[in-house]
Structure formats: C-alpha cells, structure tokens
Amino acid sequence: MSLAAHAQPFFLEAGGGERFCLYHAPAGDCRGAFVYVHPFGDEMNRTRRMAALGARALARAGYGVLQIDLAGCGDSSGEFGEARWQGWKDDLTLARAWLAGRLGRPAGVWGLRLGALLALDHAADLADTADEPRLLLWQPVLAGATYLTQLLRLRMAGDLVGTNAGNGGGADSPQALRALLQAGSAVEIGGYLLAPELAAALDRLDAARLAPAAAVDWFEVVAAPDRPAPPAAQRVAAAWQDKRKDAGKDVCLHTVAGPSFWASQEITECPALVEATVAALVESAHA
C-alpha cells in the first residue's frame, strides 16, 4: 500500500502562511498522540523514509501521528532564510493543538536530531505545566553551538575538496562564518540560507539545561548491539536525572543497533529503532 493510503495530507493555517502536514490516524482504539518534528536541511531529506516508517508503525500501535513541515522547510510556505527558532516552536504548539483537538487527548512530541532539540526546548517552556508533552527523542542534537559549528564546517570541507576553489584561506572557516552571522549577515550552507537570528538561537541551546519533567524515551543508535550509549548522551541523561530525582520519573535512555540513517548519503532504514520505539510506548502504557 502506498503511504497516501495511510496518511491524510493537508495544509494547516499558521502565522504567515500554511504548513504542510501528514496525519496518520491511529488504528483501533487511540492510545496516544505524537507530533513528529523533522531534522534540518539535508538530514530532513535523508530521514523522510524513517519518519514515514515510524509514523506508520506508531499509528498501527494505536498512536495518532501528525507530521508537520516547519516554516520554510519541506512543502510548507516561507523561505528557509526567513525561518526563526521561535517560529518553529510556535508551529509545534499549533500542531499539538490540532492533534489534541482531533483525538481528544494530549499530544506528545517525537523529534529527530534538531527536531528533538526543538521538542526539548518547547517542553522546557511548558515545564511543570499540565501541557508539558511526553517526549520521544531520536538521536537528539545535544549542543546547538556544536551543531552550528558542524554545519559551518561543511562549507570548509567543500572548499577542501575544491568545489569553492579560489576563495582563499580562512574566509570560510567556521570562526569566520560565525563572525559574519554575529555581525548580522546570513550565510549560505549547502543551499540553505542560514539567518543570523536562527544561528544565534541555535548557539544558545544546550540540552543539559532543558531537563524535561514529563516522561521521556530517548533512543541512541549505536553501531553494534553491545555498545553503550555515547558518553555525551549519558552525561546529559545523568544531568536530567539529577534535576528530577524528586519527581520519581526515570529518563529512559535506550540504545538500538543500526546504521546512522540521518547521516548517510543513501536512504537508509533502521527498523530496530522503530520496533524499539513502539515497544517502549507499549511497555510504559502497561507500567
């Protein structure tokens, strides 16, 4: 069956335009709801298939899923260069309200890579309110500043292999590009125009300081089944656990063996991640 047979595409009216959405209705009795937040740039394209597989599996397990293309991304209106972090958080609020209205229950947030960091930041805004979402995190970006550096570094790599030859020494170094952004200029990275406002917001984000108070299932993809979660993920999870030890809720950091599907040039699947996510939800529903 085609994806269209499972999901209902539509445009959601939003500030300054409309957002492309794909709604996956839950099969049978509804057990929960999640808004899916995609990663950024090339990672968004590489992960469409995994997002679709995940959304369909969750829907089959009784969880309604709304996939939203954030402003300036995918098939939504607006240019990427006009996108702002706060605007994306507003999009997420809007999507959660739509899904909660549709299914009559609170909507959690399921985010991948930068989408997971957006989910965390959105949840932090609502910390300890009745509206704080349950979170599903897939391979979250943990440090916005490091992520920004990695984006900026891509331009230098392009130069190193000669695509931008003749641009000269340090003009394309991450530090030089960062200085440009801080001075208020937009910077083009791999076909995306990065606005200085968006870069500044990314630069300030630190997952360790965004400890969620609601239930969170966090999944890290590792290369082999016997590998532990990366030290960086363990440190952030421990910092969260520390902050919320009185709440009596655990941070569930899961590891799943599979390929780094968000990073590979070919469309890659990691079915074990989808299975583990559904299993974690079913288990917590029975707990």
Partner: protein, 81 residues
C-alpha cells in the same frame, strides 16, 4: 584511556572492515585512504557528538590526525579541560 573508543569510532565513521586492525601507532592522515577531507570533517563531528566536546579548527592540525594515538591524546586533553 580513550583509545578503544577512538578506534571504534574510527571504524564506524570510516566504514573500515574487521580486517583493518588499528592500534595507537597506526598512522592516519596520508596513510589511511578512507580519511579524505570530507571524512576528516565527519570524524571531527562524530568526536564532538560522541564525547560532548567542541573543537575549534585552530586547535587541530595534521599532527592531531597523525596517528590513532595522537587523536586519542587530543580527545583526552579536550575532556580534561
């Protein structure tokens, strides 16, 4: 101390098969054909994500990537900061 983790990361990022044996003395830059300029960028990013460190481009050079051991020593120094 971080040698085993660095070796695992190198094998994963560069997609090296099991037949490639790495140890502290294994030369990297200029010796390992898989380590081209894009792979160096990917490797730096993977080190940052794995260990939760931020690497400035002026703190790394050819000497950092001379061998597996020099790379491990660099990571150890960053983590101690």
């Amino acid at each position: 101390m971080y040698l085993e983790q660095i070796i695992t990361l190198l094998k994963d990022v560069l997609s090296l098969g099991d037949e490639v044996v790495l140890n502290a003395d294994t030369p990297l830059l200029g010796a390992l054909p898989e380590l081209d300029s894009m792979a160096v960028v990917n490797l730096i990013g993977a080190l940052e994500d794995q260990f939760g460190i931020a690497i400035d481009d002026d703190e790394i050079g050819a000497a950092t990537f001379e061998s597996v051991g020099s790379l491990a020593a660099f990571v150890e120094k960053k983590l101690a900061q």
